[in-house]
C-alpha cells in the first residue's frame, strides 16, 4: 500500500537521496533539512489527491504533535502551542534547527482555525475507518456503507508525514 502513497514529488524527498546528502554535507548542523517536512510541504503544494494513506508512514496526528487529546478546547490548543513554541523555537533552544517549530506551528495553524480543524477531524475519522475496514476486510459491512469509502476524499493532506 505504501507504494501508492506517492506521487514522484513526494518520493524523491522521502528516501535517502542525493539532494539530502548534498544539502546535509553543505549545511552546518543548524541548517540541515528535516526530511519529513519536505514530504509535507510537497503534499501541501501539490495538493495531492491520492486517497490512500499509508499507515506505516503515519507518525503522529496534529493532536499528537501538540500533545493534546482530540477534544481539546481552543484555549488548550493555544496554550499547548505556546509552551511547545518556547521549547522548540530556535530562539529559545539552541539545539533545534526550526524544523520542530515549523511542524508545531503547522499543527497549530490547522487546529486553531475552526473550519480547518473540522475538515482535519473528518479526514482523521475517514482514515481511521479505512484502517478498521482493512482490518475487518469486507466482512459484514453493508454494501451501502462500504460504498461510502470507495472514494474517500482526503480533505487535509497534512497528516501524511
Amino acid at each position: 500500500m505504501a507504494g501508492t502513497l506517492a506521487a514522484p514529488t513526494l518520493l524523491h524527498f522521502s528516501g535517502d537521496n542525493q539532494l539530502l546528502h548534498a544539502a546535509k554535507s553543505i549545511s552546518s548542523s543548524t541548517t540541515s533539512l528535516p526530511r519529513r517536512r519536505f514530504c509535507a510541504t510537497a503534499l501541501h503544494a501539490v495538493a495531492d489527491p491520492t486517497p490512500v494513506m499509508a499507515e506505516s508512514r503515519r507518525p503522529a496526528s496534529l493532536y499528537e504533535v501538540l500533545g493534546l487529546s482530540k477534544n481539546a478546547s481552543s484555549v488548550e490548543i493555544k496554550s499547548a502551542y505556546r509552551s511547545l513554541a518556547k521549547m522548540h523555537h530556535p530562539d529559545s533552544s539552541e539545539s533545534t534547527d526550526g524544523g520542530d517549530f515549523i511542524r508545531i506551528h503547522k499543527a497549530y495553524t490547522t487546529l486553531s482555525d475552526p473550519s480547518a480543524r473540522a475538515l482535519y477531524d473528518l479526514s482523521l475519522r475517514a482514515a481511521a475507518k479505512m484502517r478498521d475496514r482493512r482490518r475487518f476486510e469486507y466482512a459484514a459491512a453493508p454494501a451501502s456503507y462500504q460504498k461510502g469509502y470507495c472514494t474517500p476524499r482526503r480533505w487535509e493532506t497534512d497528516q501524511c508525514w
Binding site: 524523491h12 542525493q18 543548524t30 503544494a45 495531492d48 518556547k86 530562539d91 529559545s92 506551528h105
Partner: protein, 574 residues
C-alpha cells in the same frame, strides 16, 4: 580611528551562524538606529538598561560629520549648534537612503537635504557626498552608517568593559531584503555581527509581552491571550504590528509598514512655507545650503511646538532677501500633511485586516516612535481603533531598543532566575516571497505574515516542449506584476531532459531560518523518477547587488520566454 576598526566587509559573513568561541556566552546588545536618533540597550543581568554617551544622553543623533581626514559621528560629538549638522559636512538620514536606487522617490525627496544627493534616474545607487573644505567628497550610506556604528561600538565597549560583537538590530517593517543586506554590510564594516533583526514594532511587542508576564505574576492568574496593536512612527518610517501575547510568547499576527515619517511631515511643511523651495536650492551652492539649514531648523521647531500649542509663529530670514513670517496653526499643518496621515490610517486598517482582528478585540493599542507626540497621529490611531485611551506602560522612544536588548538576551541563551527572560517572539514575514512564473506574474511561495522559521515549496513546470533549462527569478513584495517587486536574485535549472511542456516537475523550496536567512532550493524531477535529474541548487538570497531593476530587464530581453516556468496544475500530475 574609524578606518582602523573596519573589518572585512562581506554580505555572506554577516549572518553566518557562527558562535563566538569565548567560554561565556556574549549577550547581544540591542541597537536601534533611527533615521534621526539612535540608542543602545543591554541586559544587565536583571533588567534592560540604556547606555548613555559621555554627555549623559540616551538618545544620540544619527549623523556623521566629515572634516579633513577623520569623520566623527553623533555618538559623542558636541554640537555647537544645530546648524552644524546642516552645513553640508554632515550626512544624516542614512536609514532612508541605504539600499535604495536613484529612481526611488525617497531618494529624490532626500535631495532637499543639505548634503549632496545626486541621481541619474537609471536605477543604480545614488551619489552621496559631504562638503569638506569646499569640495564634495563622495561617500555611501553604508560607509556613513559604519562610521557611526564604530563609534557606537566603542562607546558600548568602554561602558560594558567587554568586547561587543553581537547585536540585535531593529529595522523598519518595509525594509526589503536588499536593504537588510546593506545594513548588515554596514554592521560588518564596523565589526558587528547581526544576531537577529527585529522589525521595530515586534521589538516593542516583546517588551509588551514581558510587561504582561510581570502583571500576570503580580495578579496571579488572568494569563489569557492579549491582542495588541503597535503603531510606530519615527522620522523615516511608519510600522504597524498586531501581536497576540500570552505566557511571555508574543506571536506576530500581521505587519504593515511604509517609508513615511517625520521627515515627510517636515518636508511638506517646508514646501508649504516656501513653495519655490526646490528651484531655490537646485544649484546647491554654499548659500543654498545655508537656506536649507535655516528653513529646516525653523520648520522642525514649529512642528515640535505644534504638538503642544494650537498655532506657532514662524519667523525666519533666509538671508537672500526672502523672509518667512507666518503663523501656522495645527489645522493647516494637518491639511498640508493630509496624504501622510491618510496613509498611516490605511496601514493600521490593513494590518488589522491582515491579522483578522476586529478593533473590538484589541486589548491594548500601543503608540511609539518620535512622531507619537503629534496630536493628529494619536487621534488617528485612536480613531481607527475606536479607543479613548492608549497603552501608557511604555516609553515611546525607548521601547524598541529595550525590546531588542531583551531579544538579545533571549537569543544569546541567557536565562533569568526570576523568569524575566522566559520570553519568545514568533516573527512573521513582512512581505511575500516568490518567483516569476506564468508569464510576467509574481507567484508567492511564502506569503506575508507567515510565522518564521518557515519552509514552503511549490512545484513548477516548463512552458515549451523540450525546454532544457529554466530560470528561477526570486522576488519579494506585494505586487502582482513582477517588476513592481524587489528582485532578490536568479539562477538557472539546467539539464532538464527532453519532455513535452508541462511534464518536468521543477520544485522550488524556500526556507527562512530564525536569523531571517532566506535560502531557495530548486531542482527538477521527471514524473515517475525518484531522484532529481541533477543535484538540487541551494541559493542564499539576495544575490543581486545594485541595479537589480536592470537585471530583470536584461534577462527578459536576452531570453524572452525561453526559460520561463509556470505553476504545475494539480490535475496535470496524474
Amino acid at each position: 580611528m574609524a578606518e582602523q576598526a573596519y573589518t572585512v566587509a562581506s554580505d555572506s559573513e554577516t549572518t553566518a551562524e557562527e558562535k563566538s568561541s569565548s567560554p561565556f556566552p556574549e549577550i547581544a546588545i540591542g541597537v536601534d538606529i533611527g533615521t534621526s536618533q539612535c540608542s543602545v540597550a543591554f541586559w544587565n543581568g536583571s533588567q534592560v538598561e540604556l547606555l548613555k554617551n559621555t554627555r549623559n544622553q540616551k538618545m544620540m543623533r544619527s549623523y556623521v560629520t566629515f572634516k579633513d581626514e577623520t569623520p566623527t559621528g553623533g555618538v559623542n560629538n558636541q554640537l555647537s549648534h544645530e546648524y552644524e549638522v546642516l552645513s553640508g559636512a554632515a550626512i544624516f538620514n542614512m536609514k532612508r537612503l541605504i539600499g535604495r536606487v536613484d529612481t526611488d522617490p525617497v531618494v529624490h525627496a532626500s535631495k532637499n537635504l543639505p548634503f549632496l544627493v545626486q541621481t541619474l534616474d537609471i536605477g543604480v545607487r545614488p551619489f552621496i557626498a559631504a562638503l569638506v573644505n569646499h569640495m564634495w567628497r563622495s561617500t555611501t550610506p553604508e560607509e556613513v552608517l559604519a562610521i557611526f556604528l564604530v563609534e557606537l561600538r566603542a562607546m558600548a565597549e568602554v561602558q560594558l568593559k567587554r568586547p561587543v560583537r553581537n547585536i540585535v538590530l531593529t529595522i523598519p517593517v518595509s525594509f526589503s531584503r536588499f536593504q537588510i543586506t546593506r545594513i548588515e554590510r554596514a554592521c560588518a564594516m564596523a565589526g558587528l555581527h547581526v544576531l537577529r533583526l527585529m522589525p521595530e514594532p515586534t521589538a516593542v511587542a516583546l517588551l509588551y509581552a514581558q510587561e504582561q508576564q510581570v502583571n500576570v505574576h503580580e495578579n496571579m492568574g488572568s494569563g489569557s491571550e492579549k491582542i495588541a496593536l503597535i503603531f510606530n512612527m519615527g522620522a523615516g518610517y511608519t510600522d504597524v504590528a498586531v501581536t497576540a501575547t500570552a505566557g511571555g510568547v508574543s506571536q506576530i499576527k500581521a505587519l504593515a509598514g511604509a517609508t513615511i515619517g517625520g521627515e515627510d511631515l517636515l518636508q511638506n511643511l517646508m514646501h508649504h512655507l516656501l513653495p519655490d523651495f526646490d528651484s531655490l536650492i537646485s544649484s546647491r551652492g554654499i548659500n543654498e545650503i545655508k537656506i536649507m539649514g535655516l528653513l529646516r531648523v525653523a520648520t522642525q521647531d514649529a512642528i515640535h511646538k505644534l504638538s503642544y500649542e494650537e498655532n506657532v509663529q514662524i519667523d525666519v530670514d533666509l538671508g537672500n532677501g526672502t523672509k518667512i513670517c507666518k503663523v501656522v496653526d495645527r489645522t493647516e499643518f494637518e491639511e498640508v500633511n493630509r496624504a501622510i496621515f491618510e496613509h498611516c490610517e490605511k496601514l493600521v486598517i490593513q494590518c488589522l485586516n491582515d491579522a483578522k482582528v476586529e478593533v473590538g478585540n484589541l486589548n491594548d493599542v500601543i503608540l511609539v516612535g518620535g512622531c507619537s507626540n503629534i496630536p493628529k497621529v494619536t487621534n488617528l490611531v485612536k480613531g481607527v481603533c475606536k479607543r479613548q485611551e492608549l497603552y501608557d506602560g511604555i516609553n515611546t522612544l525607548e521601547a524598541a531598543v529595550c525590546g531588542a536588548a531583551l531579544e538579545g538576551a533571549v537569543a544569546s541563551g541567557i536565562s533569568d532566575p526570576f523568569g524575566s527572560l522566559d520570553l519568545l517572539t514568533i516573527q512573521a514575514t513582512p512581505l511575500n516571497i516568490g518567483v516569476r512564473a506564468d508569464g510576467n506574474c509574481f507567484v508567492p511561495i511564502i506569503l506575508k505574515n507567515t510565522a518564521m522559521p518557515v519552509r514552503k515549496e511549490l512545484v513548477f513546470t516548463t512552458v515549451h516542449d523540450n525546454q532544457p533549462e529554466a530560470l528561477i527569478v526570486v522576488y519579494e513584495g506585494d505586487e502582482k506584476v513582477v517588476e513592481k517587486n524587489h528582485m532578490l536574485g536568479y539562477f538557472k535549472i539546467t539539464g532538464i531532459p527532453p519532455a513535452p511542456k508541462g511534464n518536468p516537475e521543477i520544485t522550488v523550496c524556500m526556507d527562512i531560518d530564525a536569523s531571517n536567512v532566506l535560502r531557495v532550493l530548486a531542482g527538477v524531477v521527471m514524473p515517475g523518477a525518484q531522484t532529481p535529474v541533477n543535484p538540487f541548487m541551494e541559493v542564499r538570497m539576495p544575490t543581486v547587488d545594485d541595479g537589480h531593476g536592470w537585471c530583470g530587464e536584461a534577462l527578459l530581453r536576452t531570453y524572452q520566454t525561453n526559460l520561463d516556468v509556470t505553476v504545475l496544475q494539480k490535475n496535470k500530475l496524474h
